[in-house]
Amino acid sequence: MLIEIRKKPFNAYTEMQCYLDSLDIAGHYGATANFVGTMRDFNEDKKVTYMTLEHYPGMTEKHLDAIAKSASEKWNLLDVLILHRIGKVKIGEDIVLVATWSAHRKDAFESCRAIMEQLKSGAPFWKKEETNSGAKWVEKNTPGY
């Protein structure tokens, strides 16, 4: 299991492959599920030029760790990877990656979704968007279900 907060841009697909290559689960996993969240150039009818992501050092990592461990207890998982950006994020850059590996698709699909939704609703991150009408804190996340 790997959970990291990243200050610099990352490519989610490269990260996923690199992490998979570092594991010794070939032959054991038959399913990979992932979610990648990427920076848009719009939100609620406003043009967004960039975004700043803040977190609560210590609590954010602790919370993500608890989410991943809880998922590992509920589903039969071989591994979990969670990466999340902080700092200034530009258009098109990846914000979040959640990836899960399991023998069968049910565990990978369901755990990936659950981790992502729990991250959205509870992990202490906050977005401030720079828009054509000034900077604005995002007040809430859109529902995932």
């Binding site: 803040e54 977190h55 609560y56 999340h84 992502m116 202490p124 906050w126 804190w137 995002v138 996340n141």
Partner: protein, 78 residues
């Protein structure tokens, strides 16, 4: 006794500081601490989230000496 208090995101900007150390009586509910802060700062803030020692707590949580309390707006990561 003393507790440390942290504020994040829009709330930090509203309060005007990232952290402070505040004197409270032992076993004060965290909701009372929050009420005293918004009254002393003369601010209004809906939907505040509360954590103590980096874990979410309910508003009735009773504070202990040395607790790290955090107040922040709804989270918007991902």
């Amino acid at each position: 006794m003393q507790v440390s208090v942290k504020y994040f995101a829009s709330l930090r900007e509203l309060v005007g500081e990232a952290s402070s150390v505040i004197d409270v009586e032992e076993n004060t509910p965290v909701s009372e601490l929050w009420q005293s802060i918004i009254e002393s700062k003369n601010i209004e803030f809906d939907n505040v989230m509360m954590a103590v020692n980096m874990e979410y707590v309910k508003s009735e949580y009773q504070l202990k000496s040395g607790d790290e309390v955090a107040f922040f707006p709804p989270v918007t990561g991902g």
